[in-house]
Amino acid sequence: MLRKRALIIALAAVALLAAGAVGVAAGSLPFSLAEIWRGLLGEGDNPLAKQIVRNIRLPRTLTGLLAGMNLAVAGALLQGVLRNPLASPHIIGVNAGAGFMAVLAMIVLPGKVDWVTPCAFAGALMAVFLVYGLSLASRSGETVRIILAGVAVSALLSALTSGLMFINSDNLEISYAWLLGSLSGRGWNHFRLLWPYSAVGVAAALVLAPKVNIFALGDEVGSSLGLRVKAYRAVLLAIASVLAGSAVSVAGTIGFVGLMAPHLARLLVGVDHRYSLGLSALIGATLLAASDTMARTLFHPVELSVGIVTACLGAPFFLFLLFRRG
């Protein structure tokens, strides 16, 4: 069992490296592999290859890997803590909050592209804060109340976002592209914003993985096993929202990765979060990086939104796995 798990996790790590390598190698300009490799090392005599590989493809691919990892780990934490297989970052208001603030920033601060990401991050965190506060106000922080509050807050914020886009239809295309999720034009500044949250968030999630397991037994059994259920629920929700919020604010509201990657991980190694959390991270990163490579190469010169690819690629595969296991 342990050996099988180790093998699957190792394979997933190889897949991640492969997805990263293809992401850096593939693109509209056909460089040779040697040129790409030397460009990556900062050597070589092709300045264009060096510039494109190091300053465009590499940061974009790395950002995609981190965003996918964050969304997947956030989804895994939420599914575990809320004991709900349908939970994913959007269910606690992350996407709607980020989307609302991003669109608002695009309207209020036109042309200031740098402001969109921090505003979206703040929006995501505020939405989660609101959802959690509402769930606490209604007697106790039960899991069902968190989900219902999340759905309600998301619906409200999405409606407001649509309203903003309707009123200010000049920016419609940009806002819409952002909401669909895209890694287009993401560079080192986005990577620098994202990686500290990814590193701290994923490390904290992995350390707390055994606690997430106990949540599956219910709040009462959890308490009687000595787990401070409410405190850990708040901490784990906070970790999930920082992970998802940072990913969404950089890459837009990419759906499905946060729902699907944890399910895939559990199908492969079982529900024990000591293994499935790490595997979710690897699967999510691979999935998003591979989807992004396809999004920008499949219909070249038209670039698809990566959110479209993750769903089109992921949903059938996910259903196949689900029904194969009965």
Partner: protein, 286 residues
């Protein structure tokens, strides 16, 4: 060992427990019995500190419950709630292993002692063949054994159980009652358990608390508490207390259901026409 003084609890306006005094001595099985809604499960949760007492206090080894940290408490008292509608699809050995979590800061790695205790609990509850089966694929009886094994892996001197044998077939009921007796006799565990069936309480409990409307109606040795008149008072049911040769304890056998009360007969009379007899209609249709 585990005591409560003047314990009261309620939700908002509603009082669920009032002025309950309770004591479970070391190495004894104490049964909580009473009608549905009499506060048995609530009392059990207050004794574990899962519900906050409105008045009164609970003491464990002479120390108030709130002086213990969550992990200290979970190394002394184990608690198993009644029904587990939602069973996680974890393998039995992992489920039992979670009983060791009070002894760990993170829970990433199990120690040699943990493994010994987990293996012992699995063997003791006769789950060896089911180790790698997931808990949600087990039958009701096997599942309950797995939960009890988790509680045993927790290795606590006090065990609180909420209707541990309800919904189990006769054989599993007998086996589980024997397990509880064995835990008391060989490991001097203190067991406080809610029983749905008065006879289970009579059979294995050293002391019985009979609850009615959130109050203790009677407490003490089982034969003193459970009498024909106290059962009639609390459950509004006529019973015989029977003794069988070869059985140490008495048994409660309810009166038959042949004799309808007048009020019951009136209700049946009033509503008789609302329950159609379908048979004539079906025959006509054919």
């Amino acid at each position: 060992m585990l005591e409560a003084f003047g314990l009261s609890f309620g939700y908002g306006e509603k009082t669920v427990l009032s002025e309950v005094c309770f004591s479970a001595p070391r190495g004894r099985i104490v049964a909580l019995i009473g009608p549905n809604g009499s506060g048995k499960s609530t009392l059990l949760r207050c004794l574990r500190g899962l519900l906050p007492a409105r008045e009164g206090s609970v003491r464990l080894f002479g120390r108030p419950l709130r002086d213990y940290s969550p992990s200290e408490l979970s190394r002394r008292v184990a608690f198993l709630p009644q029904s587990h509608e939602r069973v996680p699809p974890v393998p039995v050995c992992e489920l039992v292993g979670m009983g060791r979590s009070p002894y760990h800061r993170t829970g990433w790695v199990l120690s040699a002692e943990d493994r010994l205790k987990i293996d012992w609990a699995i063997d003791y509850m006769q789950l060896d063949g089911l180790r790698s089966r997931t808990a949600d694929s087990l039958s009701g009886g096997e599942r309950q054994r797995a939960w009890i094994a988790m509680v045993l892996a927790q290795d606590t001197p006090v065990i609180l159980l909420d209707e541990p044998v309800t919904y189990m077939d006769l054989r599993f009921q007998r086996e589980l009652l024997a397990v509880l007796v064995d835990l008391r006799d060989r490991f001097t565990k203190t067991i406080v358990s809610v029983f749905h069936d008065i006879n289970h309480a009579l059979e294995i409990a050293d002391a019985v608390y009979l609850l009615k409307d959130g109050r203790i109606h009677g407490a003490g040795e089982s034969e003193q508490v459970v009498t024909e008149s106290s059962i009639r008072d609390v459950f509004q049911v006529g019973t015989h207390l029977c003794r069988f040769s070869g059985r140490r304890r008495a048994f409660v056998v309810p009166h038959g259901i042949d004799n309808l009360s007048d009020s019951r007969a009136a209700i049946i009379e009033k509503g008789a026409h609302l329950q159609h007899d379908l048979l004539p209609c079906l025959e006509k249709g054919r």
